[in-house]
Symmetry: C2
Subunit: 244 residues, 2 copies
Amino acid sequence: MTTDDGRDTSDFEAYADLGATTGDAMEIAETSMDRVRELVPDETLGDRIRQKAVHATGDPEFQYLVRFSGADESEVVRAGARAVLDEQPVVTDITMVKSGITGRGHSCPVRKAIGNGAALAAETGMTRTAASVLELDRQGVYEGSVAVVGNAPTAALALADCIESGTRPAVVVATPVGFVKAAESRERVREVADEHGVPAITTVGRRGGSGVAAGLTNELVHVASDARDGDLPLDTDAPVASER
Amino acid sequence: MTTDDGRDTSDFEAYADLGATTGDAMEIAETSMDRVRELVPDETLGDRIRQKAVHATGDPEFQYLVRFSGADESEVVRAGARAVLDEQPVVTDITMVKSGITGRGHSCPVRKAIGNGAALAAETGMTRTAASVLELDRQGVYEGSVAVVGNAPTAALALADCIESGTRPAVVVATPVGFVKAAESRERVREVADEHGVPAITTVGRRGGSGVAAGLTNELVHVASDARDGDLPLDTDAPVASER
């Protein structure tokens, strides 16, 4: 077999060997997830998030860094999936996280905070990302949303203040990375999430980043897809044992 | 002091405390890099890449995972910086990596591979990302480029084949992530880079991802900026001791 421009397709065996075909781009991902499931328990909805954290980072240790706040861990995941089914907006801190949110399996609008709140930032000296979160919150954007912070600790701190002031995202995914306030910002998110009953998925320590935040959010989309297909009940009192 | 809509800016002290001001968005990043420099040596151009790997992931261990191929490590970094100064195209595998490439400090066109080569993928059954790399290579896009793979192992394998077939990127940054062929694909990139003298920055093992690839590429931009400012000589025989 040759391609349109005369190349022998046997040249491409190395890629085809991976088993992927166009139109089924999930196949490599599924094989990869099978290997992850050998490393991470596969019993609960929380496990699905832990599996995805490992899958997104390539690091089995990452399963131990995931935390659930504001509700028990399966309910946190259900709340996120319900928000996806309800087509609530997914609001990310920066462009890179937005780019990582899958376009499939949901009809949620996906928008980024960065680019908003320039006047507030100029007035106050706060970071552009923090100002962008406060500005979108002023517009009511975070209420009921899937609020995602993958990069900027100051965005996570701002989001925590918004929750403390009364805003109620449907779910928060916060894994900002770095050596300045990243760990502290997530701790603050966990505190306000627990205090106000806002479902939140975070990681402990400094590790995280855009890829982790996007991956965990995409797993909420995946759980929502399973629920839509009837494979998974999302009502709060559904037995955990039937989750997968 | 109050904002336009009457809020007291003292509410924002927590953010301003971080020392960042709009128009100087690098300040938090610099503080963060100062902390990284306490954890990673700061002597050579290779150290700058290792520092950035730690900064991008929040994990000090990442400094030990970086590898340089095709030339000695300082020359690999210099080659990447020269490509940036020469305004060569930065070509990423996926959109998320493209989104993570800084818009400042360079005039390189930045494009992504994904979205190209659909016919080839359909004909051969290879992944879309692998097909996209082969298609852009057929168009000559990778010759002299800054070739970046942050996500797809099959894209890295395809890029390695292109190098073996004669394509010479100015530098390769390859940190695809995952449990299917990620580690092997980087090993293959290292082999062809060493064999054909193509400067390449990779990581060993399975860990990596879009954030790492974008971060390391951005550090090449940063080195190029320092060279442009006269702070750093990029000619190959410059003494390493004068690099910072």
